[in-house]
Symmetry: C2
Subunit: 226 residues, 2 copies
């Protein structure tokens, strides 16, 4: 029997890393976090994942799993505990559709514009954010928050009656924007109520404790009563 | 029992649509193709998939499945025939890692630069392609083809010993570039041998017959002996 703990290479404000951290905790799997700045392109990290992206998971037996989509399916297949995807093929399809909505559309339209520009100074010292990209990202963010609001006016959780990876993916992405003080919660009451439920889960606590040097979040970020 | 055929809304040069078309054929599922130009943002199509993207699958019972990742998992869960993902969690993780490599990295670095510029005139009449994006896309394409070459020097199929969704995803993306005459096959002998095997599969034939008005592929595109 292996005595190694499961290890996750992550970056604190990477939404895909956050999604996997939540999923692991929800599955009851203890893990060690290792901070990786993917833009440094560390050779030993590239050997684990030639895509050069976090998160990367190293299982207790040393197996390396890369790509956040592959990681969450792998965790769900190999661990008991909360089923991340749901009971029927149709429900699982809806969960995967919404998880991929946030992992591709939200990421492209909000993270790659607004967040990347705000992180520019972290990646390249002294680099100024591009205000056009920030404006476009903020506009896109409103559209995505309205979509969550629309869903939450109709459903208990994002993909239906039960909590699933769709909620973890969405909350992971939204939490990065919340860290940056970019979410006007009062405009989205249903979304706020949903996010308050997500924030109060034990699986979310380590995300709320994340801090990046030079980028301190507003107090409301880690406040459960925001 | 329903008498409806399964229906797939697709666009011929959309790599995600192509991946799903191959997967359906490999599963032995007959289907009807409906051409959808996603940039027209047809209201009835947006009702099926608010993301506005092809492919969208309508199952025999009328269930709507959107997002290519969700669709292939759904097909694999609900249909017998070739297992698209493989036998063990580790193999499935490698299949999903590589499928996602092409669906995210290759798509972002090659499709969104090179292909989108070459398609610009289809989407907006008279629009000229941006030569910088085309140059960057061609550079990125070489890097990705070298990665396939590296894998195929070591493996029978992309993800290991057996054919899988990794091959279908990669071949779907590469086939779009081949349609545009962008692949210098002589530089990648192992990749060429692999692609020749993919091309000769019955599941690939309908892709080789695709033609878009005003964009005729080179003869080698549909030639099995290219």
């Amino acid at each position: 029997m292996s005595t190694n703990r499961l290890t996750l290479y992550h970056y604190p404000l990477c939404p895909f890393s956050r999604k996997v951290r939540i999923a692991l905790f929800e599955k009851g799997v203890p893990y060690t976090l290792i901070l990786e700045k993917p833009w440094e392109r560390r050779i030993d990290f590239l050997k684990m994942n030639p895509a050069g992206e976090v998160p990367v998971l190293v299982d207790e037996d040393g197996s390396i799993i890369a790509s956040h989509t592959a990681i969450v399916e792998y965790i769900n297949e190999t661990r008991v505990g909360l089923d991340l995807f749901g009971d029927t093929p149709l429900i699982r399809a809806e969960v995967r559709r919404l998880a991929s909505w946030f992992d591709t559309l939200f990421y492209r339209e909000v993270y790659e514009t607004l967040v990347m520009e705000k992180l520019a100074g972290q990646i390249q010292s002294g680099k100024e954010p591009n205000s056009t990209f920030i404006r476009i990202g903020r506009m896109n963010l409103k559209r995505h928050l309205r979509y969550i609001e629309w869903l939450m006016e109709r459903r208990n959780y994002l993909a239906g009656n039960k909590i699933s990876l769709a909620d973890f993916s969405a909350a992971a992405h939204v939490s990065v924007l919340d860290y940056l003080g970019e979410v006007s919660w009062e405009e989205y009451p249903e979304t706020k109520a949903w996010y308050a439920r997500m924030k109060s889960r034990p699986s979310f606590q380590s995300l709320l404790n994340d801090r990046i040097a030079g980028m301190i979040p507003p107090n409301a970020y880690s406040d459960l009563d925001f």
